[in-house]
């Protein structure tokens, strides 16, 4: 008799657990089904906002996120991995590019950058996506901490001004940070190499 009671209790418990699991999973599926599209939309919006920081909306009218391709250029982009490149067009004509690039020689590891370049070779903007530089020294490359990263805006790279792409200590145009010279050097070099690559490739990147 006792075994029956035990098995009934066990069965009842198992059934109840099962019921809970089913209800929980059902709830999760329901919530997921209506948050999923919202998340995708916000994700897209956030990405577009990031891209627009380095490529203002008034300069293009195509779908920037969709008009994307991958490029592999280890010397210029600091990585052997293919990097995304977004093409901005105004009425179908090339307006500018947004490129992800990496400064591989930061003080502590890679510095991921996003940079926008107008079709005429001027820089539209540069932002740091992620980095591990020392807090208080190298992290002035973030726009939240310092305006330094804005000093790239509008710059071009030509044969004549290549030497000005350096910090002031190296007789260039850019401010350095007290206590951290490696970080700004790394960022400047990465932007310079990427810009050089973009200039060399020219319209090919829009195809």
């Amino acid at each position: 008799m006792k075994t029956t009671t035990l098995s009934t209790t066990m069965l009842r418990a198992a059934g109840l657990m099962g019921l809970f699991v089913v209800v929980s999973v059902g709830l999760l599926v329901a919530v997921n089904s209506f948050t999923q599209p919202k998340i995708a939309e916000v994700e897209r919006q956030v990405m577009l906002n990031t891209l627009n920081q380095v490529m203002p909306t008034r300069y293009y009218n195509n779908n920037l996120i969709e008009d994307m391709t991958w490029v592999t250029a280890p010397d210029a982009l600091g990585t052997t991995q293919p990097m995304p490149i977004y093409r901005a067009r105004l009425d179908g004509e090339p307006a500018g590019l947004v490129i992800e690039t990496i400064a591989p020689d930061g003080y502590s590891g890679n510095i991921h950058l996003l940079m926008g370049v107008f079709a005429d070779g001027r820089i539209a903007g540069v932002r740091v996506l992620s980095h591990r530089e020392t807090p208080g020294l190298g992290d002035k490359i973030e726009l939240r901490k310092d305006n330094w990263i804005l000093s790239f805006n509008g710059r071009q790279l030509t044969k004549d001004n290549a030497h000005t792409w350096a910090v002031k200590r190296d007789r260039g145009d850019f401010e350095q940070f007290t206590g951290a010279t490696i970080t700004p050097r790394a960022v400047i070099n990465a932007v310079k190499h990427t810009l050089d690559y973009v200039n060399l490739q020219g319209v090919r990147l829009y195809e």
Partner: protein, 342 residues
Amino acid sequence: MHNIYTSSPFAHNNSSVQKVMLQVQLAALPALVVHLLLFGYGIVIQWFLAVATALLVEYVMLKLRGRPLLPNMTDFSALITVTGLVFCIPPESPWWVVVLGSAFALIFGKHLYGGLGYNPFNPAMLGYAFLLLSFPAQMTQWTLPTELTGLHRPFWDTFQVIFFGLSTEPEIYTGATPLSLMRSGLHEGVSAVNVMMSPILGSGWFGLNAWAWVNIAFFIGGLYLLLTRTIRWQYPVGFLGALIITAWFFHTLNPDVYAPVSFHLLAGGTMLAAFFIITDPVSSSTTPYGRLIYAAGIGLLVYVIRNWGTFPDGIAFAILLMNIAVPLIDRYTQPRVVGHSR
């Protein structure tokens, strides 16, 4: 009648502690003189600032904790703490740097743990780590030696720089320390030998830079402490030994990427740590064998942090890390009592 509980060694007027502390101060004198000659008057102003802070903090904290002022304030331990700290900070850093650092060292490093004797960490190094993490920009810019810049700043000017931040040409006056230069040089692919020959590192009296001379002065003071038996030999021997062996090993492995032994011995806070900081009996191991392990551990960690860490000098972090390891070291190095097995 209140019972007064005291613990050994039942010395009534703290005279032995005072004597030791004064001897340590005396031994730091050569370094102070060299520092003064090479980096200007900054260190004197910083020292007075630190001592004033220490007196104030000790007074307030002892009052708050309800402890008697007299034996606690005259044991000179706070003086040693802030003196150690003063030698670590850039001589012309703003006044609040040394004030905050001294206050943090004494409040968080000593009093909150229950006062002298109960602190697991070396207070001076805790204060320095606090400053380095909190104000990295101020802490990594060192006043350049006067004979390098050719500018002997008068006392009054130094005073103004420290208190009001008035400086005419900061770019000329300050720069990176040899350790920072080595780090950034190696990072950018310059070989260690070439970094050693750069103007800041390679020039000075007899071809030794100012930082090296301060280290030599500390070494001389340290020898005095050793001879008078104020400090135990295990500390400097263990620390310098470990540092020399690791530095030699890596330098032999690849002289381009790893600086020579002499560089590590005469840069940063090496000698200050070896004879004045890690010898603090409160926060270090209490067994003879343990002291050797403790000191060697610091030497090894200093090398590791200098080469692969985020900050140029790893003295403070190395000491704090080994401070935490002290209970473990003590546990496994208890001398065997005669007639007992372990």
